[in-house]
């Protein structure tokens, strides 16, 4: 009689629940996972090597393409690293704008995470509801940069430009009559801040709807509670960060512990889990969304009252205002030098890390004094989380692997870099 063998299943790289191009080799005994072996590298684009041949400012758009659902947070880490090397402070208004957009980004990422997590577990509706809210936030991105996915908005020394005074409007089309048009353009009459404030007023209601649909749903709890439990000690040993670490009950949030941008000037709470299971991580993310909403509101208030510069006025580091180029000789030269040669960053090395929606996202930059990085190392949060897949999934069922993937909330853009 042939020996009984375990069942090896190739989960991905083309799998609806793989969140990108995860290839997971699962060794199953019946439906119970005996071994989960993640294979990565299918989305490798060599970002770290690519930026070594680009000027410092040109490396920035590559950051958008790392974790492509938390674009501005990636940019933030990069800007912080270069600013640390340069030893400059950015204007306060830029700090507030960065804080606000970091939180908008956190909402975007958590909404996507929640939506896909629920979709993977079969609750289709949530995904479409979260995408409805994401659409509004994408419009905020679009209003400020023109791009919805890869904004490239932050700059070394500040942000690209101040917040716009008006929102783009829907135009008349065969699908939108005058009445619909009036309805969809209703909250777009004011400035970007008005639009965003309107969103923050609506959002808690939407958030309550997600709670109604999921939090006390018996099926949802059966699928999440006690799945992928990580003890606080193990979470630390495994190098978890972000919601993964806080879900295990360790209160660690860089926004509180090592405040950057304007986080030391805004009020917010850090939610912490108790059991370290998928359900706690879900609750932590849910609460973080409300906190993000709270931070955005505080930033809106401050930004309304305090106009000012949004980018460094050192024209060796940031281009001069465009109007001055045609009338001012020095501005023209600065402009030319900035866009042809770029900025020179003093020799040295710096590590900057931000509280990214998924954990700690770090950029380690080494400069040899040239106009481009000598070496840039990216520390993605998802990489360490994915490494714990085997430990978290072992002994659970096949369906729980999907839960764990959803609760780890990784994106392959930054794992594979």
């Amino acid at each position: 009689m042939p020996e009984a063998r375990n069942f090896t299943l190739n989960f991905g790289p083309q799998h609806p629940a793989a969140h990108g191009v995860l290839r997971l080799i699962l060794e199953l005994e019946g439906e119970v996972v005996k071994l989960a072996d993640p294979h990565i590298g299918l989305l490798h684009r060599g970002t770290e090597k690519l930026v070594e041949t680009r000027a410092w400012a040109q490396a920035l758009p590559y950051m958008d393409r790392l974790d492509y659902v938390a674009m501005m947070c990636n940019e933030h880490a990069y800007c912080l690293a270069v600013e640390k090397l340069l030893g400059i402070e950015v204007p306060l208004r830029a700090k507030y704008i960065r804080t606000m957009f970091d939180e908008v980004t956190r909402l975007l990422s958590h909404l996507l995470s929640l939506g896909t997590h629920a979709l993977d577990l079969g609750a289709m509706g949530i995904m479409l509801y979260t995408f409805r809210e994401r659409e509004d936030l994408m419009d905020v991105y679009e209003a400020v940069t023109g791009a919805r996915m890869h904004p490239a908005y932050y700059r070394i020394g500040g942000v690209y430009r101040d917040l716009p005074d008006q929102m783009s409007q829907y135009q008349k089309s065969p699908w939108k009559n005058a009445a619909t048009l009036k309805k969809v353009n209703k909250n777009r009459q004011g400035s970007l801040l008005d639009y965003l404030e309107d969103f923050t007023e609506r959002f808690p209601k939407c958030h309550a709807d997600y709670h109604t649909l999921l939090t006390d749903n018996r099926i949802w709890k059966q699928r999440l509670v006690n799945i992928g439990v990580v003890s606080p000690e193990r979470a630390l040993q495994l190098g978890f960060t972000g919601a993964m670490l806080r879900g295990s009950g360790i209160e660690w949030d860089l926004r509180k512990k090592q405040p950057y941008a304007a986080y030391d000037r805004v009020d917010f709470d850090v939610p912490v889990g108790v059991n370290g299971d998928s359900y706690d991580r879900y609750l932590v993310r849910m609460e973080e969304m409300l906190q993000a909403n709270r931070i955005i509101r505080q930033c809106i208030d401050w930004l309304r009252k305090n106009p000012g510069p949004v980018i460094s006025d050192d024209y060796k580091l940031a281009p001069p205002p465009h109007e001055t180029i045609h009338s001012n000789m020095e501005a023209l030269i600065h402009h030319f030098k900035f866009f042809s040669e770029g900025i020179f960053v003093p020799e040295g090395e710096a590590y900057a890390v931000v509280e990214h929606p998924k954990g700690e996202f770090g950029i380690y930059a080494i400069s040899d004094g040239a106009n481009k990085p000598y070496r840039l190392k990216i520390r993605p949060p998802g990489f360490t989380h994915l490494a714990a897949m085997d430990e978290m999934a072992r002994g659970h069922m096949l369906a729980d692997v999907v839960t764990i993937i959803g609760s780890q909330d990784y994106v392959f853009g930054d794992i594979d870099r």
């Binding site: 069942f7 299943l9 190739n10 799998h15 609806p16 629940a17 439906e31 629920a118 979709l119 993977d120 577990l121 079969g122 609750a123 289709m124 509706g125 479409l128 509801y129 409805r132 649909l213 999921l214 749903n217 099926i219 949802w220 059966q222 699928r223 069922m397 096949l398 369906a399 729980d400 692997v401 999907v402």
Partner: protein
Amino acid sequence: MEEMIAQFGNQWFGAAWPSLWLVIWTLIKIIAIVAPLLLSVAYLTYAERKVLGYMHSRLGPNRVGPWGLVQPIADGLKLLLKEIICPSWANRRLYFIAPTLAFAPALAVWAVVPFSDALVLANIDASLLYVLAIGSMSVYGVVLAGWASNSKYAFLGSMRAAAQIVSYEIAMGFALVAVLMVSGSLNLTEIVHMQQKGWFAERGLSFLSWNWLPLLPLFVVYFISGVAETNRAPFDVAEGESEIVAGFHIDYSGMAFAIFFLAEYTEMILVAVLTSLIFLGGWDAPFAGLPDSAWWLIGKACLMLFFFLWFRASFPRYRYDHIMRLGWKVFIPLTVVWIFVVGIWMLTPWNIWK
């Protein structure tokens, strides 16, 4: 008209005509049931997409024809024109038999389903038994499909489907035991007739005399088991979109794939109609004074179908072992207890089913 046909038949076929006519007449009746059935299956997919769409704050199909009404036809046409791929390691014969095995029982059950007092293809005495027997045959199609396609995902799907359908068949059967106890018959028409009598029915509120009220737990168990039987969300682990991709029909394409869906939706309609017949009084009007008609049955079935879609729009998917637990540890004990309750109730002077 009838005379003309009889005359014509006798002239051409002589003595063989009466039996030949029976075959022809039965075939006509079958077509009269199957054609509208398939049409309603097609439009059930449309309704599903529309209802899900509105529940998800989007529009659903709205491009093909006015309000997207031609969409199901376009879908069917597309699937008809697609190549049916058979994986090289699959067992060819079983691979192509499987969809048929899934679909045929789903259609065969309709033979005994009454639409109103006289509107039934075969009014057999043990029609409920026939429904149970033929209805559970369709699992063979699913199991064979999973096995024959020789894919690990399909295999897992068919294992899940087999276990799930077998377990829920029991809960479903137990739920029906009480129904046949109170009705004293296995005939579906008779079951509906029994529901038309009672204390409330005499006072004009016939909808309170239907089985759903005294057998409420069984009604719930039966309908949920029905959802599980048809592999619909939240019990769709056999397809398990995000776990085992599409489960047992992962390798099927074109019309072979479509037939699995036809079977699924036919069974959905069947479960809805049976629930309406057994627990919601079938074609009986809810209040006295309103005429009884097949439209009531259709309306009730539509309501039940709406629940199917509603579940799908809002619930997360069960995990496979939780489904088993629900079936074996909750539904089966619950139905057994309620059978006892009903049995004792029937022996007391307060028996309402005399």
